[in-house]
Amino acid sequence: MRETWDSFEAGLRGLHTHDADPGRVERIRARCLAALALERQRERARRSRFTAWRIWLEPAVACGLSALYLVAAFSSSLALLR
């Protein structure tokens, strides 16, 4: 072999970095930024939907659990009295 591995390694590290066609680079950028904006919009919508559900669901769940607790406590008291 004419060259040593060290010279190959230096050559590999120094290899030119290629880049895509500038037009394509900008098209990819634009497409990704549009997808990112869409994703942000979806996330906002998801969050607002979730917030609406929480407004309705949280009190309902709290009331339901309280009622269950009261019923259980009342039945235990009745069982003790009998």
């Binding site: 072999m1 004419r2 060259e3 591995w5 190959f8 390694e9 050559g11 590999l12 590290r13 290899l15 030119h16 970095t17 290629h18 880049d19 895509a20 066609d21 394509r24 680079v25 098209r27 990819i28 950028r29 497409r31 990704c32 930024l33 997808a35 990112l36 904006a37 994703e39 942000r40 996330e43």
Partner: protein, 191 residues
């Protein structure tokens, strides 16, 4: 890219910041493209896979872990996309010639002799790399060109570090042989 800067970039990407995407895109795009073009030996395929890689990042940015190594993540996605592409199409060795327009112009400040020598060495390296079997080429590109450690490359390729070291050793030997073969005919002609 420094680790701290990279972690901040990941946090901003997770928050959906467009500026963070632009920073990552400008920092990693040429490296990813170089990796893909050397793996596929085709510019059109490399550009398609590059686009898909970045779209994956945008789609999955919110799910990234806080300590994600962004470079390794992007290279893993690019490599997996390339593997999928290979499953659909066999790589044609004759397309190595397509790399020719990708070779760089001379660097300013070089003498014509230096430029010619550098370009000749680069040409031989590029052709020798393109001749390596895919498994050897990817490990050589990741460790030799991109500067990942064998352990990082192992995580990226889903292999054990020992397997990567063995593959790297084999790739080095094959690259040396390919370099010698690539240089031999022109030197024989010159002699």
């Amino acid at each position: 890219m420094e680790r701290e800067i990279e972690l901040r970039l990941v946090a901003r990407l997770k928050a959906g910041e467009a500026a963070a995407f632009e920073t990552a895109y400008d920092a990693f795009r040429p490296r990813l493209y170089s990796f893909l073009v050397r793996m596929s030996c085709r510019r059109d395929v490399a550009e398609d896979l590059l686009e898909e890689t970045w779209l994956r990042l945008v789609a999955r940015a919110r799910d990234l872990d806080d300590d994600t190594c962004l470079g390794a993540w992007l290279f893993t996605v690019a490599r997996n996309l390339f593997t999928s592409w290979c499953r659909h199409r066999a790589v044609d060795e004759e397309r190595i010639a397509d790399l020719t327009p990708a070779w760089p112009a001379a660097v300013a400040g070089e003498t014509p002799f230096e430029a010619a020598a550098r370009t000749e060495t680069e040409r031989r390296l590029e052709v020798a790399l393109a001749r390596l079997p895919l498994h050897d080429r990817e490990v050589m590109l990741l460790v030799g060109v991109e500067g990942f450690t064998p352990s990082e490359a192992a995580a990226l390729l889903g292999l054990s570090p020992e397997a990567v070291r063995k593959r790297l050793q084999r790739a080095r030997e094959r690259l040396a042989v390919a370099m010698y073969e690539e240089g031999a005919p022109s030197q024989a002609k010159a002699g």
